[in-house]
């Protein structure tokens, strides 16, 4: 590889933006979405992704004793799926996000850089000058 690639995650927000579409519109947007995903994979810019089912649970509190029905946010903001990208920089990731076929219908795409290591571990190194974790969990 000539240049360093970075990993980004696209989070697709909104689980009901498609509910008002006609069957023709829905067919078009779903077909475009699949074609977009396949093209990004062929170009080596996307290594995977999944749609998520609409339901889920939220686990929190000591020993995870608190369980609530999910997903986390109301349906307009809930995460409906994701792509995992390998790109040059954030501008390229944003440009890909701007091609999302759901944007015209209200889907929102969150673009997030993947961390080399988790925030806690990164702060540990800052504080102590050495890494608590030798082999890579990130």
């Amino acid at each position: 590889m000539s240049t360093e690639k970075s990993d980004y995650m696209l989070l697709f927000r909104g689980t009901n933006w498609d509910k008002e579409l006609s069957p023709e519109q829905l067919q078009q947007v779903v077909a475009n979405w699949y074609a977009w995903f396949e093209r990004l994979k062929q170009e080596g810019r996307c290594s995977g992704g999944h749609p998520l089912q609409g339901e889920g649970k939220l686990v929190s509190g000591k020993k995870g004793r608190t369980v609530a029905d999910g997903p986390f946010a109301e349906s307009k903001e809930a995460i409906g799926g994701y792509f995992y990208l390998h790109v040059e920089d954030e501008a390229e990731a944003v440009a890909i996000a701007q091609q999302c076929p759901g944007l015209d219908y209200g889907c929102v795409v969150e673009v997030r850089p993947v961390a080399d290591m988790c925030g806690a571990r990164s702060r540990g190194i800052e504080l102590t000058g050495r890494d608590a974790v030798v082999a890579g969990v990130s």
Partner: protein, 136 residues
């Protein structure tokens, strides 16, 4: 690969809880998280996991509208994810409950991965009618 397993996406939501911790406590929880993750890897449950930087951009409605930063306020922002292969939803929930950083306020969202895009399922129902979809 066990074909009976289903994928679940665990989304970790929290603020920067680690900013307030003393070094020794921080080191302890990092080691616990590492051991937790390595056990899941060794058991073949974890398929992928990454932390996310608390920056980025959000692209919305009208094409070209880009704003800086994660979508929601920092307390609820997604700080990382884990793709898990589990035999059941309950098994995925057990993994979520065992996450060491829960005691610092992290919320773990457990979401089943869809075998088929839900929009596609809805389209089939619309175009094939209830009789056809009932036979699936």
């Amino acid at each position: 690969m066990n074909p009976t397993k289903t994928d679940y996406l665990l989304l970790f939501r929290s603020d920067n809880w680690y900013d307030e911790l003393p070094v020794e406590e921080l080191r302890g929880v990092i080691e616990q998280n590492k051991a937790w993750f390595e056990r899941l890897l060794a058991q073949g449950q974890a398929k992928a996991a990454q932390g996310l930087v608390r920056q980025g951009a959000t692209v919305s409605q009208k094409r070209g509208s880009v704003t800086d930063g994660p979508f929601v306020e920092s307390k609820e922002a997604i700080g990382g994810f884990l793709l898990l292969a589990a035999d059941s939803f309950e098994e995925a929930m057990d993994v979520a409950r065992s996450f060491p950083s829960l005691r610092y306020g992290t919320v773990v969202e457990v979401r089943p991965v869809a075998q088929e895009c839900p929009s596609w399922v809805r389209l089939r129902e619309l175009t094939e009618g209830p009789l056809a979809s009932a036979t699936v």
